[in-house]
Structure formats: structure tokens, C-alpha cells
Symmetry: D2
Subunit: 395 residues, 4 copies
């Protein structure tokens, strides 16, 4: 029997390989999808797969991730209660690429993942696999065996699987182009102050440079296309944004998060580029959208965030919301000037050829607009509310 | 004929006094409501009223403003597209106090305000006056005369009204305990970078202290009641929060705002205390609310913000939303540890006796929870979405 | 000076013509847009315009109204608190056609409408005129003169304007292909039972045929395209739907409506075709949409209804919502069988090639689905809510 | 070992009893909660429990169901995509009563229910049991054994369990005071026309009386308290409403429903009383609420329906929404006149001492209101939308 393991090289997915052999899978392939995680992790995954006798495949999906997934996160101002959905948006792409690998290199009797039964990723990965490789059975070995982390380590030691680093890891880390999540250990206590050592992408505000960095981000149809005068493709601009925002202490996120199965957990993220680019995008969007449009866009954004958090990338509502969003993004063209300084991020100015802003109308020192005509609108404002007050007073 | 002017002492309200005399009001009273604006403004209002022969009344509403209005803004995480509604929440109280003054010191033939016909305050003030002093006619002299700022100055000079300072003012300022707004002049250009001089309450991040300030904010039933170990009443705690947050460069807000009559304008605010206290409140609320409750609270908060922006404080929906909010706030008790540093604000930890957080459930190294039982939930996740994908593929 | 009157031939617009002459307009044109109102009204408008010396234009917009406006109302399940927006969706088209006429037959110094200052139509008509004929001034004579109905009649008699019918009319009627509204007089009292005489399009349930009518409505991409086996274009199908539904006592609507300026009014409508077609559309949509998609579509529908009620047809949010809706409608293909009988309307069955329905999954007598795998989902259901209950019980 | 079975007397719960003995439960109690199901079912449950040697308890919860559960359904205009939540609102009460019985008559080693793993009731019943009897393990035997209906029958025959009627039943029925649901068999096909025989509570429109029935429903604080001049308690009024509405062919519902696990199913309901009382309640609510309040109440109602559909009666958000709703209901006092005739239901009039309706304001023949003052509001309507149109035209 042949299995394809969606392989990160970490503890959870590594122990799946010997465990699969035990239940009768003799030919095991592994696939690692590069969405911007550390090169060391990618190399280590290849090495471990080889040690465990698996046929390893590496797929570079960074350009696609940047231009189709991160760009959607920008257009929808990705925000799930403060979290820019960094892990969430990568899972559907990993699942799609793994499914495609399963279809090209197979036939396989199973696609295997290492997600636990408490987390969100099981939903995201399995939905993606079912969507893109409908016929192939899915095995979730860690969940099926109900293994804790300690039990996984004990098993790995017993069978001699290569998990050295994982053993001593205190935190559980996930990393891609759009951000880095750190959880587990003492961080689970909502009142435990995160130690400086958990951060890799961002300087602490105190250690950030003493001089502010100012930059102008140029957008075309909702997508950042240049920083100051330098044109870049999506992958380049996100990489660059991560670097400059991280350098200036921007993008640390510490929140209580409600997982899909109803668990409340404390999560720490570093998403410097996401925070910088989304802040700029929001500022520009506020210049080109009408008031009621902007208000409803916020409702749509929240719905999209919820859907993406649950891993339903590509489902019918996802398509419908994308059509709504695209109708607005075609106008989100212009520039936003930002200041980055020791953890604080400030919009200094924004300009757009599509601005719904009229200086003549807005100015208090212009009388093309006849103020006195507003009397009726003011007098009828809250008409029913006043009737209600009258009724209350009578009682 | 007798008129009561809702009087700030600024240009708009000062020119109303001679203008009222011209249209036949011979007895003019003025009322200034102290909601935390600068003492100099309050003193100047009294002086100008006296110069103009008005019978002046000063009402100190700071305690009521803090404990009933700012506290509601905290409970509802006041946020109108980034703006904590500082001016908006003061207007209903000013109108109520002015209405009460009109009823006590009257009878008056008119209550007079100086709001222009382009802004939001005309709606807020008039609704409050109609609510609390239903019988008394309202006059909006600036709007009725369709005066621009320059025309007001010219008129004041002609009649000799005392507006010295106003004449040279470049920015239009509004200030109360909950924040300070700065608008007008070059700031109207969305791409003009705000000069340092417009800020009075907040140090610039660069000039803020080099050492971070850490503090713990204690909440009882949704209301901050102590800072570190010092118990304070609402007025004290907001005043203190303004001071420490402002000192550390926190609370500058620069946004595009959509006014009630549909105008898009650029607004600058300084709301250091509001930003600090609401951030802490949000962090605590996220610990004690269930996921779907938290999501709907965000919908309610947005509706409240919209209602309050439009000045409908005390209307029927306002009451209904308040009942909803109170049902949650009774649980929002606990402490939040914050770090303030050069414009950046970080939550370091949060704790509550009402936390909906279970360490045993959340931990990845605990197997009281049988992960394998989750299989069905994962398999059925997105069931209809997958049916949809099948249908698309068939075509 | 030349004026173009948006002319229905009724009292409000008829008195505008002599009133315009009085204020200096010497060349008056009239334009009547046929959106399905009674032919007698159209003929009477032409006759009166001629009597009053106006240059009359008639524009037949019925096909466009059916295929672009009514069809949108079907796709969005048009429902503003029970009202299928019959008058509301016609106003933007009337304004557009009048604006186009103004541009072709002008130049005009003003476009004139007869809407009063209490209603919604002033907003709808003027927005449409400003949108499609931006340069031309708008005059709202009835509103400017603050005329009541009695005053209009008195004026018409004085100047000898032809308003015979209008004078004796008890109700104020508006009629187009999508429905008929009846208001005014005693009907304003929310507790007054509408007399049978106000209805023209619908038989009373008691007078409807004793035999039910069954019919199958076929949809293609959200639009009804055939009834039973008869293919029809949008205009034909709506006309036919009005006839059969009206014949069977379907489509009478009696509601409290909240006008744009905050007035609550009682409104009566007859919209037989709209009720029939929207009911069928809803039934089909419920078969082809995923649960969360359907829930959000209801939010979008409500937003669209609100926007259209306010006359903002074609505004930016309108475009965005239309993009969302189109993404769903392309799947709304299939058939719905309906029964019409004495005022009751029943869906008997629905079928679609895009149904997200799986008989195997839904059946209780099929065990391809392993029920026992659901345990975890059930056990974790309401996890945070139960934690909350524990906390409450401890207190 | 002792088990308490939540017992309806139907097939699912009856087979649980012998199955429990097989897995070691020797002392079995049964509890039937009377929420208005047929007396024959209640008697049959007692008889079967006795035949199977169980210690049977019957709890009459009809008054509590009517006054606390159905009344909430009225206040929230219970509507889950057309379904008044009849089964859904009974489950939490059944679970609560069963939990209380377990605590009074125990100790028990398990509470047992017969819900399958495909339906919604497993979520509702188990949440209620965990809420009200937190310490006691729950067994879901049908789900655990993954039994189909045929397998249950085969098992019952093998062990000689009394299921005579169940065997021949074609439809799966659930019934309580608030409504009756019919599903299964051919009805699963969305295009199968429901046969007349499935209906028990409602006459078909064709067989309903030839004379309409008019009645006036009086509400006090959101609750119906009298019909015409007859005061009744909640149980009486709902019972009476079921009778008169059913008699007149009102309350048949045929919809596509999306179950909690994502299955789309076709459901048929008879809810005559619910449809009548909710229609009247809505009509009255529309008279006493402000426009924006009414719009937001619809959002709250939808959220409540969703929560209740998922069985989360009594969870934190449920409490918050109830506080919101109560704030409105205290004004929902007055009368609604309805006409019932052969399946059609018409509101003829509504009146309330709290009506937010002003005849003077609403009338078109009253000029206390100066229409001409509305010009500014109309001119600024859609201001940003028009700017947007200008920008588009320029391109």
C-alpha cells in the first residue's frame, strides 16, 4: 500500500512515517510545500524523509502563495480578531499542492497528515485534500492514535525516528511568508508574558532603530506594487515588507483565539509584513469607498476571515465574497505614506486618483454648499426616537 | 425675547450673541458645559459672555461624563472606523445639560447653537435638545445665515465681538476628557502630513521616554477601577490614562471619516486614554466571551458606534444595545497588563475569574480529550461546499 | 427658459406646469416613462400635457424595466420588511430615461419633478437625475412651495389645469409592472381595514377561483424563463405572473413602512407577480446554496433592499452587491412547482442540476456515513458555553 | 449499573433499552417529558417502558414550555429560513427536565438518548444534559452502534421489543405544542409533492371552511394574552391558535433545511399556531419600533434562530440576545386584527399605545412640516456615490 505524507519535517509528521509502515503501508512518499518557511526546515524535512526511506518531493509554491493567497488577505484586510490569518491562508495551498502531487505521482492508497484533533489545521488540510483529490482516502494518524506530544516523542525514540530538534523544542512554531505563529508551553497561560526569545522576525520595539523609517506604498487595484520608487512583484514586496516592518518592531500579535472546536487558546504571532501592508491597504480603501460601502465591506471582510479561518478556501461563499471584493479593489489604486518606528506604525498621508473626496465640499471655508438647506434633515433626524421619548415621558 | 446659547466661547458661538440681538433677542443667557475641555477655554467663555452682556452659566459635568458616557464607550469598545467617538459622546451630554439649564433658568424663546450645516454636531446637539427640552424652539444661526468662517470673523470684527484667539487659529479644535480633535486648514488634504504642532496631549513617539511603562489595569464589570494598585473613580482613571498614554506617544489617530451628510473628511484625533483603556477592555473581553458571542458583540459594537456617531444617544435602539452589552459586562472583571513604549501599546497578559479558558482542554500535552472522536466533524466539514465542487467539475 | 417635467399626468406633476410658467419657464417639455402603468394614465398624461401646451415625449421602458430592474429584484429576493420594492425599483429607471431625454432634446435650464418633501421618491428621482444628467439644475416645485394636496387642487382650479380625476381620487396610487401601491386617506390609520375597492390587480381570496392553479416556473441563472412549458421573455413572464397570481388572490401586502425621513406610514401594495416569482426563486436558491452562503445571501439581500429603497441604484455598493449576487445566480437554474389557491401560495417541489443535495447522505436509512464518528463534534459543541455555566454555578 | 433513558416511546429510544441491558446496565429508568405531543404517544411510551421492565417517569412540562419557550419564540419572531423552530425549542426543555429527573431519582451511571448521528437533536439534547447534569456520562446508543432504521427494526424484532407501530411508520414525526415535523421516506426527495396524509394539524386550504375567520390578538409586553375578548394563559392561547389556524389551512411549511452537520434535507412542518402568533407579533412590533431598531432586531432575531437551531438555549449569547429583546418587548403591547381563510393569513389592522406613528406627520395633507426644508437632505443624498460616478465617467 502506498501513502503520501504531507510532510513538514516536524515531530507530528515525522512519526507518521514509521507508524504508517506498522499499519501496512510499505511505499511512502513525502511532499513538502515551500510557502516561505525557513530553508533549514525544508532541508531538514528532505534529510529526515530520506533517512526514513521515503520518496521525497519538494514543491516551491512561494510565488503562487504571494500572488494569490497573500494578495487576497490584503484585499480583504485579513483580520480574525486581530490575527491576519497567516497559518490559515497557507493550509489550503499546501493541501492543493499535496493533492496535485498525489494525483501526479500516485496512485496512492492514502494521503496522510499529522494534524492533531484539537487544532484547526485538520479541518483546513482535509477540506483542501477532499476538494482537490476527491477520490483518495485521508489518514490523520496522530488524531487516530490520540497521541500527545510526549507520546509521539516516546514513540519516535522507540522506533529511532529522527526528531532531535523537535524533542527539545519548547514552543510549537509555524512559519510562512505571511507570518509566524508561536504557541504551547507556558505561553498557553493567558497571563504569562511572552519572553523575547520566541520572536525571530521582529525586533523588540526597544531594540529597534532609533530613527523612524518612512516609506510610501503604491497600490494598483488593491495590490501593493511598489515601495517608494521600487517596483516589486508580490513575493518581493511581502518579503521586503516583512524585513522593514520586523526591523522596526512592528507586527507582534498576542491574542486570545477561539479555535474551531470551541477551545479558547492564547496565541502569539509575528506578522510584520501583513500588518504593514494591510494597514496601508485599509487607509487607501477608506479614501475610495463610500461610507455605506465601507461599512458593508467590513461585514464582508469579517465573513471572509471567518470562512478562511475555517479553511473553506474556494467554497461557494468564498467565490461570492471574492466577486464582491474584486468590484471594490479595482478602485484601490494610489499611494500611502507610512512611518515605522519602534513598534508604532502611523499613516502620514494617502492619495488616489479614485478618491471620493472633494476639497470644495469638505472645506469649512467654502460656501458653494448652502448650509441653511440642511435644516429639514436635522429637524427630522431621530423623528421616531423622539416620538418614543414622548411616549415614555407620558407614562 | 430670551435666548439661551449653548456656549463654548469659540468663534461660532460667540458671533451668535450679537447676531441674536440683531434679530430681536434682547435677553441672552449662555451655558458652558465642562466635559473636560481646557480650563483656559472655560475661563475665556465666561469672560467673553460677560463682555457681550450675557447671563453666563457654567455646569461641571465631568464626573457624569466619565462615569456614564466614557464608561459606555469602554464597554462598547467605541470604534467608528478607528475613531473612539470622543467628540460624539460629549455632544448628547452637553445638549442634555443645556436643555436642563433652559428648563431651570427659563422660560426661553429659543435655544441657540453654533453648529454649521456641514458637520455632525448639528444633528447630535439638536437631537439632544429636542429630547430633553421638547417644547423650546431651536435656532442654528451659523447654518441659517450660511456663514463661512471668514464671514464669521468679518462679522465679529464689524460688531466688535471678542474673538481675538479664534481669528489666528489655524486649526479647528474640539476637546474633552475622552479626546481631542484637530481639523481644518491644510489638514483637510488627505495627503498632508500632520505637523507636530497640532498635538497637545501626546508626545511624539520619538520624544517619548526611552524606558517603557508597564501597568496593570483592573476592571470590574466592564469598567476600569484601578491602575496597578491604585483604586480610582472613572474621572480619575481616565485623566490618569490620558496622562500616561499621552506621555508615551499613544493615541494619535489619523483617518478618513465619512460625515453624516456624506462628506468624506480627513480627521486627526488624540485619544490616549481612550486607546489605552479600550485596548485593555478588548483584551479582557476576549477572555470571558464565547467565540460566537464575541463575534456578535463586534456587530453590536459597530451598530452602537454608528448610532452614537449620529448622536442618537438614548434612542430606543441605544437602550436595547445597552441591555445586550450590560449582559456581557457583568463578566468583564479581571486584570490586563499593558506595556506602553514610544507609540506602541502591547498587551502582556490578561486574567479573569470569569475566563472561558481551560488549560487542560487547550494543552497539546493532555489526553483527557479523545482526539480520534473528532474524525466525523472533520469529515463532514464543508460537506455542501464539496458537493458544489463536484458539480463544477462535472461540467 | 426651458424646463423638462418628469411627467406622470397626476396632480403633483400637472400643477408644476402652470407653476413653472409663473416663475419664468416659457418652454415646457414633458416626458412620461412607460414602466407598465395603466395605458389610460399614459394617454391622459399625453392629453393633459398637450392641453397645457407642453412638448410631450413618451418613452417605452417596459422591456428594460423587466429585464434589468425586475430581474434584479428577483435575484435579490427583493424584500424591504415585506415590500418587494415595486415603486422603488422603477424610480431610477424613470430618472435615467428622463435624464437621457433631457440630454437629447435640450438644452434645458431645469429638470422638474413633482415629488413632495415627505416621501422617498424625491431622493430616488433626484439621485437618478444627478447621476445621469449631472449638469442640469433640478427643481422640486411641490416641495419648494410646501404645497399640501388641497392646496395643489385649489391652485389647479385657479389656473384651470386639467386635474378632474385627481380631484376626486381618494387614494394615492402608483403603478408599474412590478406592483401597485395604494396609500393616503383613511388608509393612513394603521388600524383601518383596507376596503376591497382599493385593489385592482388581485381578486380577494374569497372571490378567487375554487380550483387551485398549479404551475411550474423554470429558472435559468436566477431568472424565470418559462412557465409550465411556455418560454417567455422577462416582460411576458412578469405580466403573466401578475395575471395568474392576481387571479388567485395572491400578492396583497399591508405593512407599516419606515420612510427615509423617519416617518412611519401604513402602506398597501398589490404585487402578485413579484410575490409569486420571488417565492419560487427563494425555493430554488435554497436548493443550490450552501448553508453559510444562504445565510450571508440574506444579509446581502437586506443590504440591497435598503440601498434600493433609498434609491441608490447604480452606486458603488450596489455594483459590489451585484457582483456578489451574480456569483450565486449563475447556479440558480432549475424548476419550482407552485400551487396558487385563494390567497395561499405553496411550493410543492423544486429541482435543479446544481442542487447541493445528496440523497445518500440525507437518508436515515443509509449507513455509508459512520454516525459514531460524530461523537467528538457533539461533545465539544458549546464547550465555552458549558465553561460559562460552570463558572456561574460556582458563584 | 443504572441508566436513565430520555424516552419518547418511539423506535430509536425503545431499542436503547434492550441494548443497554446487553452492555451491562441492569437498572433502567425512563423519563418522558410532555411538551404537547399526542396523548397516545405518551400512553404508549409508558406501556412500552413497563413491558421492557423500566422504571418510568412522566413529567408534564407543557405550561413551562408555553410560557418560557414558545413565548421566547414569539418575541424573537422565530424563523430559521422559514421554520419556526418547533422541534428545536423543545429539545432544551426535554434535556433540562431529564437532567433534573436524573439528579432527583439517581444516582445514574449514564443518561441515554436515542438521537442518530446525522441529525440536530444529538447536539441539542446533549448540550442540555451537560448543562443541567454536568457530572453524568451520556450514551448515544444509536449513534455509537451506527444503526440504520432497518437495523433498529431488525434488532427490536430479534429481542422482542415492542415497536409494532414504528415498524409500519412511513414518516418520521416529531410533535409538540409549537409544531409538528414530518420527514423521511419519499419526502426526502425535494421534488416529491407531500401527500395530504402527512398532515394532522392543518386542513388543506381546499378543505378549510368557506367562511373566513377574523380574530383580534391582544399582546402585552410581547406576549399574546387574549384572543378577541377571551383572556388566556400562554398554554391556552397557543393551543387555541393551533386549532383555529389549523382549521383554516394555515401553517404548512415545506422547505430545504441545512442541518448542523452540513446536510441539506427537505423538511415539512405544520405550525399553525406559531405562524399565526408570530405574524401578529411581527405586525405589532413594526408599529412600535424605530426603523433602525427594527432593522437591527431582524439581525438579532436571525442570530437567535441560529443559536436555538444549534440547541444553545441558555448559553452566554442567548442571555445577551434575550436582554436586547426584552428591552423591546416591554413596548410590544396592543392588538392585531387578522383574517384567516383557506391557507391565507392577512393582517387587517394593528394598534398600540406605544405606536411610533404620528398621523399629523405622515399625512400628505398637513403642512405643519415644512417640506421645503428637505432640499439639503435630498441634494446631499448619495453625495459620495455621485463623486464615484463622476470619476468613472472621466475614465
Amino acid at each position: 500500500m502506498k501513502a503520501l505524507v504531507v510532510y513538514s519535517g516536524g515531530l507530528d509528521t515525522t512519526v507518521c512515517i514509521p507508524a504508517l509502515r506498522e499499519i501496512g503501508f510499505d511505499a511512502i512518499s513525502t511532499v513538502t510545500v515551500d510557502v516561505g518557511q525557513p530553508q533549514a526546515d525544508i532541508a531538514s524535512a528532505a534529510r529526515r524523509a530520506s533517512l526514513l526511506g521515503a520518496d521525497h518531493h519538494l514543491i516551491d509554491a512561494k510565488q503562487e502563495f504571494a500572488s494569490e493567497y497573500c494578495s487576497a488577505a490584503i484585499a480583504f484586510n485579513a483580520d480574525y480578531f486581530g490575527y491576519p490569518l497567516s497559518t490559515a491562508i497557507a493550509r489550503p495551498l499546501i493541501a492543493k499542492k499535496a493533492a496535485q502531487a498525489a494525483l501526479s505521482h500516485g496512485p496512492f492508497d492514502a494521503i496522510v497528515h499529522g494534524c492533531t484533533g484539537k487544532g484547526n489545521d485538520q479541518f483546513r488540510i482535509e477540506f483542501g485534500l477532499r476538494l482537490h483529490a476527491p477520490g483518495i482516502p485521508i489518514r490523520a494518524l496522530i488524531r487516530e492514535k490520540n497521541w500527545t506530544r510526549s507520546e509521539e516523542i516516546a514513540y519516535a525514540e522507540k522506533v529511532g525516528a529522527p526528531i532531535e530538534q523537535s524533542k527539545t523544542k519548547i514552543w510549537s512554531i509555524d512559519e510562512n511568508l505571511w507570518g509566524r505563529s508561536i504557541e504551547g508551553g507556558q505561553l498557553e497561560d493567558p497571563n504569562y508574558e511572552p519572553p523575547e526569545e520566541i520572536f525571530q522576525w521582529t525586533k523588540s520595539p526597544q531594540n529597534a532603530p532609533d530613527q523612524p523609517l518612512e516609506c510610501t506604498i503604491h497600490f494598483d487595484s488593491g495590490m501593493p506594487v511598489a515601495l517608494d520608487d521600487k517596483k516589486m512583484n508580490p513575493l518581493e514586496i511581502i518579503t521586503f515588507a516583512n524585513r522593514i516592518a520586523g526591523e522596526n518592531g512592528i507586527g507582534r500579535i498576542d491574542i486570545m483565539e477561539d479555535r474551531m472546536i470551541g477551545l479558547k487558546v492564547r496565541e502569539n504571532y509575528e506578522c510584520p509584513g501583513a500588518v504593514l501592508l494591510i494597514s496601508a491597504h485599509r487607509a487607501l480603501e477608506s479614501l475610495v469607498t463610500a461610507a455605506h460601502e465601507r461599512r458593508f465591506k467590513a461585514v464582508v471582510d469579517a465573513e471572509w476571515a471567518d470562512l478562511v479561518y475555517r479553511g473553506l478556501w474556494g467554497d461557494p461563499l468564498f467565490e461570492d465574497l471574492s466577486a464582491f471584493c474584486a468590484s471594490i479593489q479595482k478602485r484601490v489604486t494610489g499611494s500611502v505614506k507610512m512611518k515605522l518606528y519602534k513598534g508604532s506604525l502611523t499613516v502620514l498621508g494617502r492619495t488616489s486618483p479614485n478618491a471620493l473626496y472633494s476639497e470644495a465640499d469638505a472645506s469649512f471655508d467654502d460656501n458653494t454648499f448652502d448650509q441653511s438647506a440642511m435644516t429639514g434633515m436635522v429637524q427630522t433626524h431621530g423623528m421616531a426616537s423622539l416620538l418614543y421619548a414622548r411616549l415614555k415621558q407620558k407614562k
